[in-house]
């Protein structure tokens, strides 16, 4: 059979129906992305305005445009702007990285914060702070390297004889517990002044965000996210199972390795900047998939959901609860019930993303 549409005897109605369904899927995807983008921008602007002092939108706009506004220039320009920008970038990274793993392994539990990649970065950071006494740059580099290292270790252990999604998750959870033990051990012998810094690596926090922390995440996102999004078609084909994907011309092992390295890069850089903001990688994908419906690539929507989650959770953590909580505490409280729900549901039906 060769593609000769002009000579086809098939009534055009089926083709029209197929095209109509496809357009409806694309439209829904586009409207989800549009609405999410608008929401991210709205919460971003709100987080620049809200704080101990409220600045109206015109003053915020002038600061962002680079003008000197007494008071606002420091509070908005130096404190709130880098914090909000970091929240967006980190959220995008976690959302993209998380949904990549969940899609690739066909399991929502397979997110990097469940299978030990985030713990790898955290454990290395705590080790760097407590035992090696490294400065913040050294700690970040160590965290990124450790995140990648742990991911490749899990991959090597789990993919010994070809593919196995569930084995990767189990190996990951095992490694994650070992790393948690290591973190606890480090914390018990940490000096008082290191403890505060170390704790930031455990829950995830945007406190003290500045442009120096923003730049590496921005560079990672600009380089890695187009590479990842370029693989989204192949990624969605691998969901049909390894054999089917190979038969459709997707090099499964190559795609998988490329995508793992890219996604882990995003996660590791975001973790190095803000700690492993709990459950954002885990939650973004399923929320995005629920919004777009099954079928279209959830990568971009998941990134936007991640950004929205981190921005909103940080705003809530700072100003809505009386005491100031780090962002990771708020997302952790949001994520835990969902994890339980998911475990119950998978137990019942063996579902995927």
């Amino acid at each position: 059979m060769s593609p000769t549409p002009t000579r086809s005897l098939i009534p055009s109605t089926t083709a029209e129906a197929v095209a109509g369904l496809r357009r409806a899927r694309t439209r829904r995807w586009a409207s989800v992305v549009t609405v999410l983008s608008v929401l991210v921008i709205a919460v971003f602007v709100a987080s620049l305005m809200i704080g101990q002092t409220f600045y109206p939108i015109d003053e915020v706009a002038r600061v962002v445009a680079g003008q000197q506004v007494p008071g606002a220039s420091f509070t908005v320009g130096r404190l709130r702007l880098p914090r909000a920008v970091l929240a967006v970038l980190v959220g995008l990274c976690f959302g993209l990285g998380g949904v990549t793993f969940q899609t690739m392994l066909r399991n929502p539990l397979a997110s990097p914060d469940i299978i030990g990649i985030s713990s790898g970065a955290s454990a290395a950071a705590v080790f760097g702070i407590v035992t090696l006494g490294l400065g913040s740059t050294g700690v970040s580099v160590l965290a990124i390297v450790a995140g990648l290292g742990v991911a490749l270790l899990i991959y090597a252990l789990a993919f010994k004889n070809g593919a196995a999604g569930i084995r990767l998750i189990l190996v990951g959870i095992g490694i994650s517990s070992m790393l948690t033990a290591l973190i606890n051990w480090e914390l018990t012998r940490a000096a008082q002044w290191d403890l505060q810094e170390a704790l930031r690596w455990l829950a995830g926090s945007l406190n003290g965000a500045n442009w120096d922390a923003v730049i590496p995440v921005l560079i990672a996102l600009v380089i890695l996210s187009p590479l990842l999004i370029g693989q989204s078609k192949s990624l969605s084909i691998t969901q049909l199972g390894d054999d089917t994907a190979e038969a459709l011309g997707v090099g499964v092992s190559r795609t998988r390795l490329f995508v793992i390295v890219t996604a882990v890069g995003l996660i590791a850089f975001a973790t190095a900047a803000a700690g492993p903001v709990a459950f954002v990688a885990f939650l973004s994908g399923p929320i995005a998939a629920r919004l777009t419906g099954p079928g279209p690539s959830p990568l971009i929507p998941a990134g936007l959901v991640g950004a929205l989650l981190v921005l909103t959770a940080d705003l809530v953590g700072q100003f809505a609860l009386g005491t100031r909580y780090p962002v990771g505490v708020v997302t952790g409280i949001l994520g835990a019930p969902y994890l339980l729900y998911l475990i119950i549901r998978i137990n019942r039906s063996g579902g995927s993303l």
């Binding site: 059979m1 593609p3 086809s8 089926t14 066909r106 089917t244 190979e246 038969a247 099954p294 079928g295």
Partner: protein
Amino acid sequence: MTTDHSLSAEDLHLSYGDADIISGLSLELPAGDITGIVGANACGKSTLLKSMSRLLTPRQGRVILDGRQVHSMPAKQLARTLGLLPQTPIAPEGITVADLVGRGRHPHQGAFSRWSAADDLAVAEALDVTGTADLADRSVDELSGGQRQRVWIAMALAQQTDILLLDEPTTFLDVNHQVEVLDLLTELNARSGVTIVMVLHDLNLAARYCDRLVMLAGGGIHAAGTPAEVLTEDNVEEVFGLANRIIDDPVSGQPLMLPIGRHRTLC
């Protein structure tokens, strides 16, 4: 419509880890035929099919498509000529029939190229041919086993390959759906000249629907040829260790195998 592709295996050695599954198998698959691969459990039927579609790299020997080694061809290029429907493909949760069948267009699309009218037509044709057009907007999860298998075949058809390999396309289906799927493949073969190679469990259905049978045993080919040449009492006895009688199938005229167990026999 080009159906003059040649697919063959030369001195193929296949193994999983240390276990040799196939050793020194050579096979030529005639273009435009329906070939059935039969044999006892774990004799390497699926393994052979996988290596023919480069899912498994042979330890030794090669698979040749149109004079080129399958294992050194670009993946997408191969996927435009040769399709494979594995035994247990996975449907992503909630995916609709039209979307799933559309995934079969992957080898015809570039990484960023837009969906074309030719893609829509190919999907529509695959849905129409398999009688699944009415299901287009349904979720694959909701379908019956027979419907689902037709949808998977539709996906393989949307790939528009001249050669189609199927690994037990009738497993888990009721007998009426088995016949329906085999009828569908026969029509496809007659209409478009698609070369079909499939692993089948049911010897009698295999004899009825295939132009040629390849019977595997002991890591190689035990017998190959027309159903009448391959499905003989001796061959079934040797390969399956089963006493049996072969009679003429009054419906198709092909051989029909009747197993002889230890009980419930007249003599």
